[in-house]
């Protein structure tokens, strides 16, 4: 029986659209990969060359990011600088990337923190493997933030796991193997559920439209029944809740943060935690507006519990790095709160706070690593009077600590203020309880500062040299401090870029929730396509 048959598989690529003259985002992803390939190709003895290539490719990413921010239009709410190429059309996967106000500054945060982490706290042994994993990790993080295809996002999201596992397991502290294993298994189980959920969503979309696609803007138009929406919401949110982490899915995180090498902690707490909250804002709000609205009170509650619990546990820590880890967990609670409060101000605040949290968490981990390098301990009880020995370091620590507590004029304040005020209008009591988290964070941070930097220095301790921060360390810390102050004093340029996208997203959520299905469907179509 003659059937009309496809010919021998031919190599065909379809370039659908490449709206922008220069594919900034593609190069953003490629730059670290190129660096990693070069590093792999080099013999491991050429440590200096390997280091230079690593710095150069991460600085290239920073340069491209600057260009992207420069090109980014504040007037558009949709995705910009998009480029789409077919990749595996039979499976509905495409190479589709772009940025909007929600992802733009997360890309920037990644681009800023990686060079600093690479330059600031590089381990001395096995530099080649370390540089390769770090560059691959940077690719994974950047790729996750700019993917406009759900499966492409998943690929990059998964790609981040392997480097982090090896960074923790090979360069971590004493408990590294256990911590690496727990990190991996928890997050992989989350991803496993996410993959099934993502595929199910794509097939539901196919059943409605006849097109199998993982394109994020198109999947946002999928209409889901109540049960479907809730189940898929839970599948997605589980993965992101583990990653963020949201209490009670956080149990892997304090170990992983504490046992990871300094650079690992910086990236885990600074960038990778944001993958979780980014996922919540991008996918939960975008795909499952109804389920999100319905289940928001549960996650608001979890967010508030995270804030209080993280703060109280942090207050009990006697290990400086664990204290920073729990404080990071506590502050992630604010971002969760902002995301699920579903008001324009709170979601904008959550996006901004992701950047802020990334900056001061990274700075705190850097400072803790610098103290560890000098005294070989994280124990608060064995540190004392460092202010006398290293006043500049104490000054920088003070600024960063105050930013994390949320002092007005520094970046932490703006984000938390937006989140709390936005939450207060919609979910008053959660905001009221969450505010106590700010007080708790002041308590443990000031306590830690007092123990470590104040107090009398004994002669022995004075003899054991505690050098002031070196020019190299200054070079790493000063950019972060500048950004902390800048964002605290003048966040407008950032908020101007975040708000259009966030407002569009919040409108999408509220309209789907209140309008009739078909009206919501059409309005969301026109909104999403409005470029």
């Amino acid at each position: 029986m003659p059937v009309s048959l496809p010919a021998i598989p031919a190599i065909v690529t379809g370039s659908l659209a490449s709206q922008h003259a220069f594919p900034y985002l593609t190069w953003l992803i490629l730059a670290p990969i190129i660096g990693a390939v070069l590093v792999v190709a080099l013999p491991k003895d050429l440590v200096r060359l390997i280091r230079s290539i690593t710095y150069l490719s991460s600085l290239a990413v920073l340069g491209i990011t600057a260009a992207v921010i420069d090109q980014f239009s504040t007037k558009l709410a949709g995705y910009q600088m998009t480029s789409t190429h077919e990749w595996a059309p039979g499976l509905g996967i495409s190479w589709s990337i772009g940025v909007d106000g929600i992802s733009l500054f997360l890309v920037a945060l990644t681009a800023v923190l990686f060079p600093l982490a690479l330059y600031g706290v590089a381990p001395s042994r096995n530099v080649k493997a370390y540089s390769t994993w770090m560059l691959l990790l940077e690719t994974g993080c950047l790729g996750s933030f700019v993917s406009l295809d759900l499966m492409l996002f998943f690929l990059f999201f998964e790609l981040t796991l392997i480097p982090v596992y090896f960074l923790i397991a090979s360069w971590g502290h004493e408990g590294r193997n256990r911590a690496a294993m727990r990190f991996f298994i928890y997050t992989f189980v989350g991803s496993a559920v996410l993959l099934v959920g993502a595929i199910a969503l794509a097939f539901l979309h196919q059943a409605q439209t006849g097109v199998l696609t993982f394109s994020i803007p198109q999947l946002e138009m999928t209409r889901l029944s109540g049960t479907e929406g809730v189940l898929l919401f839970l599948a997605f949110t589980f993965a992101f809740a583990v990653k963020a982490p949201i209490w009670p899915f956080h149990t892997w995180s304090p170990d992983a943060y504490a046992e990871a090498p300094a650079s690992g902690s910086i990236i885990l707490g600074g960038v990778m935690a944001k993958l979780g909250t980014y996922g919540i804002i991008r996918f939960d709000l975008g795909f499952f507006p109804h389920a999100t609205t319905m289940l928001a009170p549960i996650f608001l509650t979890l967010g508030v519990i995270g804030i209080i619990y993280g703060g109280m546990v942090a207050a009990r820590q006697r290990n400086l790095k664990r204290l920073v880890a729990y404080s990071s967990l506590s502050h992630m609670g604010f971002i969760v709160l902002g995301a699920f409060a579903l008001t324009g101000a709170s979601v904008s605040g959550a996006v901004l706070q992701m950047v802020n949290h990334g900056l001061y968490t990274a700075a705190l981990f850097l400072l803790v690593a610098m103290i560890y390098r000098r005294r070989k301990t994280f124990e608060v009880s064995r540190l004392r009077g460092l202010q006398n020995l290293a006043p500049v370091m104490a000054g920088i620590f003070t600024v960063v600590m105050l930013a994390s507590i949320g002092l007005p004029g520094l970046n932490g304040f703006i984000g938390e203020f937006l989140i709390l005020s936005g939450t207060f209008t919609a979910h008053r009591w959660w905001a009221v309880v969450a505010v106590t988290g700010v007080v708790i964070s002041a308590v443990y941070m000031l306590w830690a500062y007092q123990q470590v930097f104040h107090g009398k220095v004994t002669e022995d301790e004075r003899a054991a040299a505690f050098p002031e921060i070196s020019p190299r360390e200054r070079l790493v810390l000063v950019p972060i401090v500048v950004l902390i102050v800048f964002l605290g004093v003048y966040p407008k340029p950032v908020l101007d870029r975040i708000e259009p996208s966030v407002n569009q997203l919040v409108t999408h959520v509220l309209q789907i929730d209140h309008a009739t299905p078909s009206a919501a469907y059409h309005s969301s179509v026109s909104l999403k396509l409005g470029k």
């Binding site: 059937v3 690529t13 595996a88 039979g90 090896f166 991996f184 992989f188 595929i199």
Partner: protein, 499 residues
């Protein structure tokens, strides 16, 4: 009714040309061994086998072109199907026979197993696997199964000097013979119930008739299922595989693992999807259980293995579970995903066992996990390649391993089999852990102080043969992982042409 004359069917030789090239090439090798005064080295035979494999690959591609241009057809008295599905397996088996000798040539030479025996047996097994994909008649399926299996029993026992090899061969043979007997009984019962051994006739009969007392048919299908489940080592019919993999000569295990799975699944998919789809409500739950057990047991038992060959054996069982998901979906997407998975799996497993072979040889034959400690410093390039293959098995992004898993899971989800999809992904989460453990041991194992006591280790020197095999498998794994379009199209076209 008396049959006075035997009517011989007209045979379209071009339709079975790849199989004929395999068997003809085998006869040439056999004749060569008989007439030459002194044996050539194994490398010459390996090269000749690769030439035969290439010839068969070319003829398979010609056949593909034929099928694509003129449509699927049947040959040899409707016993052989020439469609996209069978051509897919012709191509895959030919490719396996091109790559596999590269891993065996040096190993056999070093072990003192000179001669052409392995290559002759491999070519017979290859022809059997090809026929498994092409067979349209249960009798031919059985013949192909035996043509595939008997050489494998011998290959397992090829290393006559090692007792473990003989033991593996004996185990494989006894259990294999047992399962073949079960399979034949299944054929007999199915024939009794439907009156035909031709797959198309069985399907037609079952779609036209309602069988009032279906016990015989169900029993027949069940026995066929057991026979196939044994060949593909699905739990609980997997007991032989770790022992056989561990005991067989290192350099040929990859081939055995790949060809047995490919051949087994070819006929499994063909028989159950094309002959017995009307019974799917009966066999699907059973296959579901086999699949779930294979996924879970394969991953969990592999966790506790200290021997890499055994670990890979159990991970192969886990892979068998994944491939079965395509059958459960019972759709052309499902079959295409199984084909994609088989393709990806074949090259990954060939290379993985190939690397285990050379590492074990450098550690006086030990394939324990400790043999891999510090491999990253000893032979960094080899370690990187092994890491790539292990991560591909784990389903790392941008390798065929990920897309294979993605494809079968999406087929299962499309068929609303959410539970098995979740089980599969959770088993993958467990599996990732033991793959990563090996990678970690390779790269950071020698950093600890207990490595100080070990003697200075020389880098492992690989011959060009092994390198070429590794590179070919790595290319198949990474290129089709980053650019999967041709392979996906091939797998999809193969199922579009599924009769």
């Amino acid at each position: 009714m008396l049959a006075t004359t035997i009517i011989l069917p007209t045979i379209n030789y071009t339709a079975i040309l790849p199989e004929l090239i395999m068997l003809g090439g085998m006869l040439v090798l056999l004749g060569l061994v008989a007439v030459i005064p002194r044996d050539f080295s194994t490398k010459t035979y390996a090269g000749l086998t690769q030439v035969i494999g290439t010839a068969s690959l070319v003829s398979s591609l010609v056949l593909w072109h034929d099928v694509a241009a003129h449509g699927a057809f049947q040959a040899v008295a409707q016993a052989v199907d020439v469609d996209g599905f069978s051509v897919f397996f012709l191509v895959l088996v030919s490719a396996i026979l091109i790559v596999a000798p590269a891993f065996a040539a040096d190993y056999l030479h070093d072990e003192g197993i000179e001669g052409a025996e392995y290559f002759i047996l491999a070519l017979i097994a290859g022809a059997g696997a090809m026929l498994m994909g092409a067979a349209n008649d249960l009798i031919l399926v059985f013949l192909a199964l035996e043509i595939l299996s008997i050489p494998l029993y011998v290959i397992a026992g090829l290393n006559a000097r090692r007792a473990t090899s003989g033991e593996a061969s004996m185990k494989y043979f006894l259990l294999g013979a047992f399962s073949s007997a079960i399979f034949v009984y299944g054929i007999a019962l199915t024939y009794g119930a439907t009156g035909s051994t031709n797959l198309a006739d069985i399907a037609a009969f079952l779609s036209r008739n309602v069988i009032a007392t279906p016990g015989t048919l169900y029993a027949g299908a069940a026995l066929l299922l057991v026979g196939f489940a044994f060949k593909i080592a699905a739990v609980p019919f997997h007991m032989w595989s770790p022992d056989v993999y561990e005991g067989s000569p290192d350099g040929v295990v990859g081939f055995m693992a790949a060809i047995a799975k490919v051949g087994g699944f070819a006929a499994f998919l063909r028989v159950f999807v094309s002959a017995l789809p009307t019974l799917s409500s009966i066999w699907e739950p059973v296959v579901w259980v086999l699949c779930a057990l294979s996924l879970i047991a394969g991953a969990v038992i592999a966790l506790s293995q200290r021997n890499i060959k055994r670990m890979l054996a159990y991970s192969s069982i886990n892979h068998a579970g994944f491939i079965l998901m395509g059958l459960i979906a019972l759709s052309s997407r499902g079959v295409a995903s199984s084909l994609y998975y088989l393709f990806a799996y074949s090259f990954i497993v060939l290379a993985s066992f190939g690397i285990v072979t050379v590492v074990a040889k450098a550690n006086s034959g030990s394939a324990e996990i400790d043999a891999f400690r510090g491999l990253g410093r000893r032979s960094p390039v080899l370690a990187v390649f092994f890491a790539i293959f292990l991560l591909a098995q784990a389903g790392a992004p941008f390798t065929t391993g990920f897309l294979a898993k993605f494809y079968v899971v999406s087929a299962a989800v499309a068929a609303h089999s959410y539970a098995i999809a979740v089980i599969a992904m959770l088993s993958a989460a467990v599996a990732v852990f033991f793959y990563l453990r090996v990678v970690l041991v390779m790269f950071s194992g020698s950093e600890t102080e207990d490595a100080v006591g070990t003697p200075e280790q020389h880098p492992i020197v690989l011959s060009r043969w092994v390198w070429s095999g590794i590179m070919a498998c790595a290319a198949a794994t990474v290129i089709f992982g980053i650019y999967p379009l041709p392979l996906i199209n091939f797998a999809r076209a193969a199922t579009l042409l599924f009769r």
